[in-house]
C-alpha cells in the first residue's frame, strides 16, 4: 500500500528538524552578512548565494554528533587570468581568522567552517560574465528559501519570496512564471590541487532540481532523501556513492507524475536495479553527466567494486519495496516498509502485532459528572 501519511511522517523524521533548520539559517546568514561587510573583502566580494543539498532540500537529518551542512558560493571579481588559486584563498585568511579562528580549514576547492551547531562550506568564484552577474545579484538567487519552501522559484527579476507578495496582484506573480529566466554560464572556482580555476554550475543544478521536482509532483527531493537515508542506515552499503552522487542517480530514474512517494521510491529503486544491472555485473561504473557541465562525469571517482556492491543492495531494497507496495494489508505493508527503512518509518498502530482497534473502550469517556 502507498500509505501516504506514513511516508509524509517518515520524511519529517529523516529531514532537518526545525531546530536544525534554524541553526543552519543562523549560521549561513551570519557568514554571508560578514562576507558582504568585511572591510578586507569589500574590494573583492560581489555577492553570495546558497547551493548544495541544503538549498536543494535534499539533505537528510544528521545523526549523533553530526551537524547539518550548508554550502555557499562567494562570487568575487577576481580575474582568473591574474589571480592564482592559492592567492585567491589567501585573500580570505584575515576574514576567517577574525571571525572563525580555530574553526576553519582550507580544503581542495573550498573553505570549511565547523561551528557547534552547523558546518558551513563556501567556495570562491572568479568574476562572472556580465550576463551571469545580473542573475547573481538578483533577489531570486540571493533567497534563503530552499527549493521545497519556494516551489515556484524562478531565476528572473520578477520573482520574489512568497512572504513579500502580499497585496500584489495575480498578474504580478504570474509574470515571474511566464517571463524567461536569465541565461547563466558556469562559474570558475580555484582548485588548489590542480592549481587552476575549474568550472562549476550550481545555478544549473538548482534549475534542474526545481524542474525535476515539478515533474514528479514534488516527490523527487523526497525520494532523494529516502534513498540517502537507506544508504546511511544500511551497514552493508559501501561508503560511496553517497551524497550528491546518490541524488544525481535518483534524478536519472525517478519517474514523473506518480503522486505517491511509495510508488516513486519503489520505481526509482527498481529502475536503478534494472537499468544498471549490466554495469554492476561487469564491475563497471555508468557515466553520470553533470547537469550544468555535461562534459563532466560525476561518478568518475567511483570504483567498479563500489558500484557493484551498491547496486546489489539497491536491488534487494527494490524487491522489499515492491513487496511493501503491493501488499493489500495496511498492517503488513507498514511493517514491510519499516523493515526496509528502519525505525524512523512509523510503526503501524498496535505495533508490529497488528491493529485491532476497540469498538468501545474499557473505560467510558464520560463516566462521571460534576
Amino acid at each position: 500500500m502507498k500509505l501516504s501519511s506514513y511516508f509524509n511522517d517518515f520524511i519529517v523524521e529523516i529531514s532537518l528538524t526545525e531546530g536544525q533548520r534554524d541553526a543552519a539559517k543562523t549560521g549561513h546568514t551570519t557568514l554571508r552578512d560578514r562576507l558582504m561587510t568585511d572591510e578586507s573583502l569589500k574590494p573583492v566580494v560581489i555577492t553570495t548565494f546558497l547551493q548544495g543539498s541544503y538549498k536543494r532540500h535534499t539533505g537528510i537529518r544528521p545523526i549523533g554528533d553530526e551537524r547539518s551542512d550548508v554550502d555557499i558560493v562567494v562570487v568575487t571579481n577576481l580575474d582568473k587570468d591574474v589571480c592564482v588559486p592559492e592567492a585567491a584563498y589567501d585573500l580570505f585568511n584575515p576574514f576567517l581568522e577574525k571571525h572563525y579562528s580555530g574553526k576553519y580549514r582550507r580544503q581542495g576547492r573550498s573553505f570549511g567552517i565547523t561551528l557547534s551547531y552547523v558546518d558551513l562550506d563556501f567556495v570562491i568564484t572568479s568574476a562572472p560574465s556580465e550576463a551571469t552577474r545580473e542573475a547573481l545579484l538578483s533577489k531570486s538567487i540571493g533567497s534563503n528559501l530552499t527549493l521545497e519552501e519556494a516551489v515556484d522559484w524562478r531565476l528572473n527579476s520578477d520573482w520574489i519570496e512568497p512572504v513579500s507578495r502580499r497585496g500584489l496582484g495575480a498578474d504580478f506573480i504570474r509574470k515571474a512564471q511566464d517571463n524567461p529566466e536569465w541565461k547563466t554560464e558556469p562559474l570558475l572556482i580555484p582548485d588548489r590541487e590542480l592549481h587552476s580555476w575549474q568550472p562549476t554550475h550550481p545555478i544549473a543544478q538548482l534549475q534542474w532540481t526545481r524542474d525535476k521536482n515539478r515533474n514528479t509532483d514534488g516527490n523527487f527531493t523526497k525520494v532523494v532523501r529516502i534513498v540517502k537515508w537507506l544508504h546511511r542506515s544500511d551497514d552493508s552499503m559501501p561508503k560511496h556513492p553517497k551524497g550528491y552522487l546518490i541524488e544525481h542517480l535518483v534524478g536519472e530514474v525517478c519517474p514523473d507524475h506518480f503522486s505517491s512517494l511509495a510508488e516513486s521510491v519503489t520505481i526509482s529503486l527498481e529502475e536503478i536495479s534494472e537499468r544498471y544491472a549490466g554495469f554492476a555485473a561487469e564491475r563497471k561504473v555508468p557515466k553520470m553527466l553533470d547537469h550544468g557541465l555535461p562534459s563532466q562525469d560525476v561518478f568518475s571517482r567511483i570504483t567498479g567494486d563500489e558500484f557493484k556492491r551498491f547496486h546489489s543492495r539497491i536491488s534487494l531494497a527494490a524487491t522489499q519495496a515492491r513487496g511493501a507496495l503491493d501488499s493489500d494489508d495496511a498492517n503488513e505493508s507498514a511493517s514491510r516498509w519499516r523493515e526496509l527503512f528502519g525505525n524512523k518509518f512509523p510503526t503501524p498502530p498496535g505495533g508490529t502485532g497488528g491493529f485491532t482497534p476497540r469498538v468501545a473502550p474499557t473505560v467510558p469517556s464520560k463516566g462521571t459528572f460534576a
Binding site: 500509505l3 501519511s5 511522517d9 498502530p349 473505560v363 467510558p364 469517556s365 464520560k366
Partner: protein, 599 residues
Amino acid sequence: MEPNEAVRAGRRALEHIPGVKISSDFKWEDRSSSWLLALDITPGIAVNPWIPQTVSVYLRIEINYPFGDIRIFPAKDSGFTSTFEHQLFNDAGSDDVPYRNGEICASSEQWSMGTTSANFEPYTAEERLYSRVKRLCEWLVRAPNRNLVQQGDWFEIPHFPNTRAGRGHLAFIESPASLEIWAQSAKRIGIVRATKLNSGVQLITEFRNLNGSSVFTPSTGNLLNKSNSYDLGLWLLLSEVPTLEPYEAPSTWGQLYKICSIQNIDAVGLLKSGYPRLVAGTNQHLLLGFPIPERVGGEINRIHWQPIELPNIEKPRRVDGFRDPEVFHWRRARETWLSESSKINWKGSENWSSDQLVLRAPGGDEFENEVILLIGAGALGSAFVDLLARSGIRRGVIFDGEFLEAGNLIRHELTMNEIKQPKASALASQLNIISPFGQFDAINQFFNGESEQDEISSSEATLVIDCTGNIAALNAISKLNLESSKLFVSLSIAPNARYFFFFVSHGKSFPIDRYWQSINPILNSSEVIKDLTELPRETGCWDPRMPVSPEDVTAMASIGVRLLREYLLKSPEHPTLRVFEQQLTNDGAFSGYVEQKYG
C-alpha cells in the same frame, strides 16, 4: 503549526480503514485553532440523489487531540449539499473555508445507531480518529438508505439554520397535557404573548386567537405571574414537522409555503389574516408550531415551537391608492421579506415544561403534584427545600419567625442580599426564581399549630416538613388535627453532624410521642451528650452555636430528599425513624454516612 505525533498517529490509523483515502494532509486553520484533514471516502453506497459514491469530507481536529473536538463537514468540492438526520443544516457556509456548514454528528455520545447501549469513544491517539471515521462511514452508508434513524430512537427536531438545538432566547411551555388543548382548538393562527425575564429570555405566556380569545395559557410560577406580558407576534400551527427531503428545515419562505401546501395549509392566506395583528416595531416573531413525538414512530407527545424573527414592522399609515393601509403593508411584505426567495430568520427556542427541565435529574415525577408546608427556614430547611424545588416541587408555604443574619450564611442557601430580611419570605422568593413554576409563599412567624393560617396551610399541604430541630415547633405540629392524611417528615442533625435524623409518618396528625421514643435513646447517648456539653460560642456571647459544617448540612439534605422520594412512592406503614451516622476512621478522616438500625 506543525501537527504533533498524537494527531499524526491518529491520521495514520485512517489508512487502515478500507475505502478511506487521505486526499490532503494536515493544514492548520487559524480561525478554529484546528488542523484540517481532507478525506475521500468510498463507503460502498449505491447511486442515489444525495451523496456521491466517493464523497469528500473535511475533519477539523482540535489542537489537543486525542482530546478536544473532532468535527466533520462535507467538502464544498465533491461533498454533498443535502441535510440528513444527525446533521446540522448543510448550507454553503463561509467563503474562506473549503467545507460546508452541515456538520455530521458521528460522535458516539450523540447517537448509538439504533442500539440501546451507549457507545463510548476511545481516547487514545491511534483509536479516536479511527473510531470517529468508522462511524462516519456508517453514517454515509445509512444516510442515502434513509435509515439513520429507526423506530424507537429518540426523536430529533431538524436543525434550523443559525440556531442551536434546544437553546434559544425564547422559551415556551408545552407538554403532553397542553397537546390535548391544542387538539381541541381548530385554529391554525393567532397571537402569541410573552414576558421578558431578567436574563433576557422571552417566555411565552399565552396563545390567543386572532380575535383575542385565549387558546392556551401555560401554568407558571409566582415570579412570572407578576410580570408584564406583551404581544410578541403570531403563532402558526402545522400538522407535521416541516422538512424537505431528506431531513432539511426550510431556509426560505418559499420552501415553507410549499411544505405547508403539502400539509394542506394555506400559509400565505393565514399570514395575511394575521398580519394586521403584528405590532409595529422590532421584536415581532412568527412562532411556527408542529407536533412531535418523543420517539421515532411513537405517538405525538407535544407541540414544539420554532421562532422566526421578523424584520421591523412598519406602522400602518395612509398610502395613496390604498383605502386600507394594511393592504399596502401586507403587499409590500409579501413582495419583500415574505417573498418566496427571501431567507427565513430562524431563532432558537427552549421548552421549559417541567418534565423537560427536570430531565437532567433521574427519578420520576414524585414531586410534581406535592404541596409542602415547611416549618423552619434555617440551614437544613433551606438546603432541603432548595433541592426539592429543583427536583420539581412547585408549591408550598414556608414558616419561620427569624431574620437572616450574616452568621447564618456559612450554612444557608440565601446570600448577602437577604441579610436582615425574614428568612421565610427571603427563601420563598429564592425558590420562586429557581424554577418558572415556583409558587412558594411565606409566613414570617413561628408555626404554632393553632392560628387560622397555620391550619389553612396545613390542610392544603400534602407534605408537612419540620426542619427546626426545635421542641416547641414539634409540639406545634403535633397539635394539628387534619381532615386528610399527610406525610409528616422531621429532619434534624445532631451536634458535630454525628447523626442525621429522618422521621416519617403518614396520618392526620404528627405522632410526637412516637417521635421522642425513637430519638431519645440516641440523643441521650454518651457521645451526643458529650458533643452537647462542648458547643462553641461566639466571642462575648453565651449562647452556643451548633457545630455543623456546610457540607454536612448539604449531605444530610440530600439524604433527606432521597428518602422522601421513596416515601412518596410508598407511604410508611408506621412511624419510622431513619438514622444516618457519620463515619470517621481512627485517624478522624471522613469515610461516609451509614444508616444505623435502632430498636
